[in-house]
Point group: C2
Chain length 116, copies 2
Amino acid sequence: MPRAATTADVFNAIAEPRRRQIIELLARRGALAVGALVVTLEMSQPAVSKHLGVLRKVGVVSVTKQGQQRLYQLEAKELKMVHDWAKKFERHWSHQLDRIKERAERKAQARREATS
Amino acid sequence: MPRAATTADVFNAIAEPRRRQIIELLARRGALAVGALVVTLEMSQPAVSKHLGVLRKVGVVSVTKQGQQRLYQLEAKELKMVHDWAKKFERHWSHQLDRIKERAERKAQARREATS
DNA sequence: TTGTCATATTCCTGTATGGGAATATATTTC
DNA sequence: GAAATATATTCCCATACAGGAATATGACAA
C-alpha cells in the first residue's frame, strides 16, 4: 500500500506547506479569487488551482462562482478536527514543560548549594 | 518536485493514520516497547519500527534502551506546534458555527410565523 | 560459542504525488 | 462570432513513499 492520497483526509491535505499558506491567507483576507492567491503567493496558476482542488475535496475550502472568477473561502470546521486531535495531548506537553522547569530549578538549587 | 518526505516535518509525519494511532497509544499508556505496540496495534514489527523511525526523526517520540528492548516515549511539544497552528483558525470555525445556528433560528422563526 | 529474543534495515513494487508546459473550458467584451 | 480573461485539466517526470519478505544487528542466556 502506497502513501495515502493527499485528498484522503485533512491531515494529508495540510501536510503540504503551500496548502497551509493558502489556508492562512484565506483566513486573513477572507474569500479570494484564484488570481489573488497566484499574485500574493507567487505560485503558478495551475499549481494554485490544483492545491485548491485538494483542499476543496477534503472540505477545507468552498467555492462560489462570481462571473468568470471563483471565490475560495475557508471552511474552518475541518481544521477544528486537527485542533481537537492535537488538543488530546495538551496534558502531555504541559507536563513535559513542568519537568523541564523542575530540572532547571534543581540545577539552579545545586549551584546555589555549591556556591554557599 | 515530488511530495515532501514524511520526515520533513510534524505535519507530514502525522498524515499517516497508523502513526497517529501510535501517538495516541503512547499518550494513553506511557513509554512502550516496540513489541507492545506490535501486539496492541496488530501491525507487523518492521512496519512499527519504520513508523517509529519517522516519528523519532521529527521529534515526536524519543527512545531509551533498556536491555534488548527499546522504550518509545511521546515528546508532545512537537504536537503543540500542530495545535498552535490549527488554533489560529479558532475564530473562523466558531463564527461559522454561529452562522449555522443563526440560520437554523431564522428558519424556526419563519416556521413559527407560518403556523400562527 | 551458540542459540534465542527484540528490534532495525534492506530490497522490492505499485501507487500517488507536485510542478511545469500546454491545452481545454467558461465567461465577458467588442 | 472573435478576441480576451480567469480558471481548470491533462500530460509528463523524478521522487518517495507503505507494506511484505527476508535479513542484519544487538543483547542476553546457557
